[in-house]
Structures are given as C-alpha cells and as structure tokens.
C-alpha cells in the first residue's frame, strides 16, 4: 500500500503564479522536505523517466525534452487541486491508530525521509540484475510480451554472508527507490541482498503468478516462495549464503511474514527471521479506504478525472510560466511538488491517485487471465499493436471494490468451491498466520502510530500479537521514515537477533 485515507480539510485557491511567490517566501519549509522520496517512487512506478537516444545522427542530442518523467510528476503532483474547493472529511468509524490522520503523517507518506535524517549508507553497493523464466508460468498474453521473465536484483558480498530477501510494496517492481534504501542499509551491514517485486507488480503477475489474479495473500506468497527457491537454486556457487532472512515494506511486509510461515512448514529455504515494515493487517480493508479516499478527494466518473486533469494542467502551466525556466526538468518538478502539495486535500489526492494508477495494471491483468470480461473480451484479447487508450480510460474509473467483486471473487470462488466472498476477505488478513506471529520469536515488525493504512484496532492487534517484537514509532505516516536512523538500526537489530525483547 502506498498510503490511505485520512481526515482531511482545506482547499486551495491561488493560481500558480501567486502560489509560486507566496510559498517561495518560506524556503525553510522546502528545505525540510524537498526530496520527495515517495514522489520519486510514484514517478518511477509510473515509468515516466523520459529520454531519448540518438543514433548515427547524434550531436543533435541535448534538446529540451530529456526528462519526460518530469511531465508525469508535473501533471499529477497537484492532484488535490482538482478538488481544492471541497473539504474532505473523515469517513470511517474507526480512524487511524492515533485517531489523527494529521498533516505530518500525510506529508511524511508523500515525501519520505529527508536526506539529512537518513541512516549512514555505504559508498558503493554492487548490483546485478537477474532475469529468470519460471517453468510454471502461464502463457504470456501478447500485450505483455515484455514481462516474460521475472526480474530481481542481487547485491552479493565478496565472502560468506547472510542473505536478506526484500519484497516491494503494492505494485512495486524489484528495484524501487525504497528497495534501494533498504538494499544500501542491509548491504552496509554485511548482508547479501536480493530485492524482489511485489506479487501485485504486473511483471510478477505475468512471469511468476500461478493464477494471474493478484491479491490473495496466501497464493501470492506461495508464488513468491517458489520463485525464491528457483532463484536461489541457480545462484553461482561463489555466493556463499550463511543464513536467510526475509523482509518487506507495506504489503511486501505481509508477504514476507507469510513466506516465512510457509517455509516453516515446507522447510525448503530455512528462513530464519522475518521483519515486516509498515505492514497492513487486512489487505482489503486498507484498499477499501483508498477507494474511499479517491472518491472523496478526486470524485468519481469521467467528470471527476477530467476536472482533475484540467485544473492540474492549468496549475502546472502557470507555475511553469512563473518559474521562467526553459524546460520542465527535475528541479522544476521537485519545486513544483513541494509548492503544490501542501494541504491535506492535495496530499490525500496524490496518494489516492497514485494508488489508482497502480490498480489499473492489476485489474487489466486479472481480467485478462481470469477471463472475466470486464474490460477485456476473453474471445478477442488485445493484440500487440492494438490501442489500449479506451481500456485505460475505463479502468481509471474503476475502484478496487470492483476488481474484487468482478474479477478476484469470481475467479477464486470458482477455484475454491467452499469459499465465500467473506472468507476470501478473511483469508487475506494477516490473522491467517496469527499463531505463528504470536508464538514464533523470529517474526518482527516496525510501524508508526500514525500509519494511514492501520486503524486503531489493527494496530492494537499487531501489538498484542507480536508483543515486544514490534516497535511503533510516533511519527512517519506510511513508510515516511523508511531509511531513517532509528528505523534502520532497529531493523538491523531485529534481523541479527540483537533485538532485546526482555527490555521492552
């Protein structure tokens, strides 16, 4: 999960030029948080780094359009502006753990850990990319021709060392900026590090999933576990592994814990410890909150999206004019994000929008594989070269609840004869491994009291289940403190078995 709903108020009115000048009077505000980690994460997840290459007619190269990814961020960053005038109110009975979805939590969720607060990181970390074809993979649909192989990243120590396997959060690939932070911290502490995509990443769904329908905690973890075995069995012998630990952030945290519990039964990898960083307790509850956040902060239907886009375009264009720059570059995006994403409404809309765009791929792949016919005609699936514009537009309007009711549930109800919609939801709660979490001392968790994806009950359940093996920080929102000194130091203590349970 990237983040979820919050009690939000406020709006915005000033046009871009005024906003630029007004906010620019508070440079300290920017200095505090001018590196939007989550924003970069978001941008890279949308895949819009822009570039160009020149072949034999080079020396034409340096033009004004090198960084298309800036455009993505630019067009999306002021998401909240589309709904600026409408106050957003808390809409669920059980609020976030603190009872306060405060601005600090939203800001931390969007902008991430400031660079000055980062834990010490190593100078260099070797990196190798692994592409693997998995024998159980389902036939690859034509439009996913580029996702045939699972892609993971490995940083190997020169000598024998424990291996840390890190799993990305919702829709993240195996090399997200957050994974890069964890990779640095873990490699610096002496681990081999293997980073893997989330089972909700389209590349995973196509290359690795045995169902093609993402979202089932246990099934997705089984696929992950099988992929881990396939990869580790083929690693070069020079990589000496002394121990194996798993960890993951957000939804990847829940996957890590379930993978460890599977391994406890099957014993194929002998996974030692698992650390969950900001995990959800109930996947579907958290996703429902994100749907709610989207409809509140952006609106529903074509008009809501169109309105969002138009306001966004105007805001960015005015801001760009006022800035006097000659091109939209990374600096512009950073300043625009810092300037535009101010109110809780804006931050919330950015979080909701980023999630919705992730869901588009999950929905499409699920519909294609399950042959449920919501947007893809099972008899005539799209071919390479077909336009997918209309499909994308349709999917943008569809909430997660619709994925559940029209793709996920029909598929699993058919394949699990004794299940019901209710049982499917229950099966995707962390409670399915509750006993293991409670009794096995090798499970750990880190979270924040203002994490937006947990409500009070869920946080209480985590605390009660894990006891002294969970650390709850006061602030950080959802993953907004990933990589900071305390988080990294505690994570390393947990992984190494140094976490002093009795003192807590």
């Amino acid at each position: 999960m990237r983040g979820t709903g919050a009690a939000v108020t406020g709006g915005c009115g000033a046009d871009g030029a005024e906003r630029w000048r007004a906010t620019a009077r508070t440079p300290a505000y920017l200095a505090q948080r001018a590196t939007p980690q989550s924003w970069n994460d978001f941008v890279s997840s949308c895949g819009c780094a822009a570039w160009r290459i020149g072949l034999p007619m080079p020396l034409v190269t340096r033009s004004t359009w090198r960084l298309i990814h800036c455009a993505l961020a630019a067009l999306l960053l002021a998401a909240g502006l589309a709904h600026g005038a409408q106050p957003v109110v808390p809409s669920r009975a059980v609020g976030p753990a603190t009872g306060l979805a405060d601005s600090a939590a939203l800001r931390a969720t969007v902008f991430g850990t400031p660079p000055q607060d980062m834990a010490p990181l190593p100078k260099t970390v070797p990196l190798a990319e692994i592409n693997i074809a998995l024998p159980w993979a389902r036939p690859v649909p034509a439009v996913f021709w580029f996702d045939r192989k699972l892609r993971v990243w490995l940083s190997a120590q020169p000598g024998p060392a424990p291996l840390a396997i890190v799993i990305a959060g919702t829709a993240g690939d195996g090399n997200t900026p957050k994974l890069a932070i964890l990779r640095g911290a873990l490699y610096g502490a002496g681990y081999h590090v293997l980073t893997m995509p989330s089972p909700t990443f389209p590349g995973f769904i196509v290359s690795t999933s045995s169902t093609g329908v993402a979202g089932d905690l246990l099934q997705d973890s089984r696929d992950l576990y099988a992929a881990m075995q396939a990869i580790l069995s083929k690693l070069p012998r020079r990589i000496k592994i002394t121990d194996i630990d798993v960890l993951g952030y957000s939804l990847g945290g829940a996957h890590a814990a379930v993978v460890k519990s599977l391994d406890a039964t099957e014993g194929k990898l002998h996974i030692h410890r698992a650390v969950m960083i900001n995990p959800p307790v109930s996947l579907f509850t958290s996703l429902a909150r994100l749907d709610n956040l989207f409809s509140i902060s952006i609106g529903s239907g074509d008009a809501g999206i169109e309105n969002l886009y138009r306001r966004l375009y105007a805001q960015i264009a005015n801001l760009y004019r006022a800035s006097g720059r000659v091109e939209i570059d990374e600096d512009f995006i950073l300043s625009a994000a810092a300037l535009e994403l101010k109110t809780d409404a804006e931050l919330s809309a950015a979080i909701a929008l980023s999630f919705r765009l992730d869901l588009v791929d999950v929905f499409f792949a699920g519909d294609l594989y399950a042959r449920t016919g919501v947007v893809v005609d099972p008899q005539h699936p799209p071919k390479v070269g077909d336009s997918l514009e209309e499909t994308a537009r349709t999917l943008r309007l569809k909430p997660f609840s619709e994925y559940f009711s029209r793709v996920f549930a029909p598929y699993y109800l058919k394949h699990r004869p004794n299940s019901t919609s209710k049982s499917l939801i229950a099966d995707s709660r962390l409670e399915i491994i509750g006993d293991a979490l409670r009794n096995d001392v090798d499970y750990y968790a880190q979270t924040n009291s203002d994490d937006l994806i947990l409500d009070k009950r869920e946080l209480a359940w985590l605390k009660d289940t894990l006891g002294p093996r969970i650390v709850v920080y006061d602030h950080g929102g959802h993953l907004g403190n990933l990589g900071d000194r305390a988080q990294v130091s505690d994570m390393l203590d947990m992984l190494a078995g140094r976490w002093n349970v009795t003192a807590r």
Partner: protein, 294 residues
C-alpha cells in the same frame, strides 16, 4: 563481411535468441551515500533558488503580460496520434534495441570514473551551445543567445575544449534551446505524435527541430568534428553518454499501457513548455475537443 556479421548479431540480440532460463547481468554499482548527499544538497539549493526567485521580483520568469492558463485552456485528454500503428511498432522496436544494444553499452560506459564521464558530458554539452546560439537568435531572444555564445567561448577556451563547465561556475548555467522551441515560438503546434526510430518519443514539430539542429551543427562544423573521418566515433560517444545519463528503462513499469502513458505525458509536457514561451499572448485558441497536439 563486417557489416553482415554485425547485422546477424543485431538480429540475434533483437530476437532474444540468446535467452536462457536464468541470466545474471552485472550492473554499475549503486552509490547510496553519494546519492543521499546529492539529494541533501539539492534540497538546500532548491530552497535557495526559490528564495532568489522571490527577491528578483519577476525577473525572466515574470508572467505579468499573459493571462493565466485556466482549466478550460487545457488540451483534450486524448492525444493526436494519426500514425499510431507505426508509432507503436517503432516504440516496441526501440525498446528491444535499447535492451539489446544501447543499455548494455551505456552500462559499461557508466563504469568509467565519474570525472571522465563528467568531462565527456560537458564536452558534448558545450557543442550543443551551437544550435542554442542560433535558435535563441531566431527566437529574438538576444541576451540568452549571447549567453550561450559566451558559454561556448568560455568553455571552449578556459574549459579546455569544453571538458570543464567553467561558465557554470561563473554563474552562466546552461539553458539549451533548439529549433523545435523556435518553431513553437513562431506559433507552430506540436502536430502528430511521432515515435522516431532509435530516438524515442517526439512530435512532428520536434522531429523537424531535431533534423534542423543537426543540420545547423553540421553546417557550423566546429573544429571539423562533424565532417571529419572520426565523426562517427564522436557521434557514437555522444549517444552513449546521453543514454548513460538517462535513467529510463523501457517497460520497467511492466505495464501494457506504457505507450499511452508516455504519449500522454510527452505531449502535455511540450504543451506546457509552449505555454511558457508565450508570455505576452496565448496562442490562438484551438478547438477544445481536438486531440492534444493537433
């Protein structure tokens, strides 16, 4: 013979016939400590830049003469792409070519010491001042044109042929422009979206601009670099340097909608940049329902 073997290798790579069940490809190492230090520095520079922006009261960026862009001025969410079939084919070809050839080569290049790479990057950056000087003049922006000329003169001499960006240290940062911007300034719309083979996303106007900029560089032919016997090697180095400085990877999104996303963003980015060029009056309002770029 050499050409034939190159073609066979290229075809093999593009077809992916070298594929195996599991492959491990070594990449340039991550540099987290330096990256974080750079992020911290950028954060403070950003704050300082914005503070300066305020005190300079408008400056170059003043939008005083232009009516603000309103939501009604935003182009349609559809993009003008009459050559979509060709473009999609080209996008896919570019993706394969990049994965098989350019990316591995530029990854190798990234293993050179950073000082060497910076020198190479500055060198090519300096050469690109040539079209900037000409195009700023064509846009009737004589001060930036003179600045680009000054940068070229300073970096070519004090910067040892452009290897060092001395002008930046003298507070003359690079602000490149090109023919496509000039055409935009003269009122030309972007036209149809166009994915250029090997080059990537563009529009008809930007494609014409590229050819024009190349022609200008060729005509000026600084130090006989463009017409000499080694011109091809220099060109290849430029391509590799350019690619190595761009973090984009085709289909890293894993998404089948990547073509649509890039098209949407590229054209909006260029349209917003066009808005920035027209500070005195907006271009004539086009049909609001027409696809963006038309």
């Amino acid at each position: 013979m050499r050409t034939a073997s190159t073609l066979v290798l290229l075809a093999a790579a593009l077809c992916g016939c070298a594929s195996q069940q599991m492959s491990i490809r070594s990449l340039p190492p991550d540099t987290p400590a330096a990256d974080n230090a750079a992020a911290a520095e950028n954060a403070s520079e950003l704050a300082a830049a914005i503070a300066t922006e305020v005190t300079s009261e408008g400056g170059q960026g003043s939008a005083t003469n232009a009516p603000p862009v309103t939501p009604a001025d935003a182009p349609s969410m559809y993009t003008y792409d009459p050559w979509e079939r060709f473009n999609r084919f080209t996008y896919r070809f570019n993706a394969r070519f990049d994965e098989a050839i350019l990316l591995p080569v530029s990854n190798g290049y990234r293993r050179l010491p950073s000082a060497v790479r910076a020198g190479i990057h500055n060198f090519f950056g300096n050469l690109s001042e040539v079209p900037s000087v000409i195009n700023y003049a064509l846009q009737w922006r004589l001060i930036p044109s003179a600045r680009s000329l000054g940068r070229f003169a300073i970096n070519s001499s004090l910067g040892l042929g452009g290897l060092f960006d001395v002008a930046k240290k003298l507070k003359l940062p690079s602000e490149p422009t090109g023919l496509s911007t000039t055409l935009s300034k003269w009122g030309m719309h972007p036209g149809p979206y166009l994915v250029i083979p090997f080059l990537g996303p563009s529009t008809l106007r930007d494609g014409v601009g590229l050819v024009g900029d190349y022609g200008a560089s060729h005509v000026v032919n600084v130090a006989d670099l463009y017409r000499g016997n080694e011109a091809w090697a220099l060109g290849a180095a430029d391509v590799i340097d350019e690619r190595a400085n761009i973090s984009f990877r085709y289909y890293a999104t894993g998404s089948p909608f990547e073509y649509e996303t890039i098209r949407f963003l590229y054209v909006r980015k260029r349209l917003i940049e066009d808005e920035g060029l027209h500070r005195k009056a907006l271009p004539k309002k086009h049909d609001v329902d027409a696809p963006a770029g038309q």
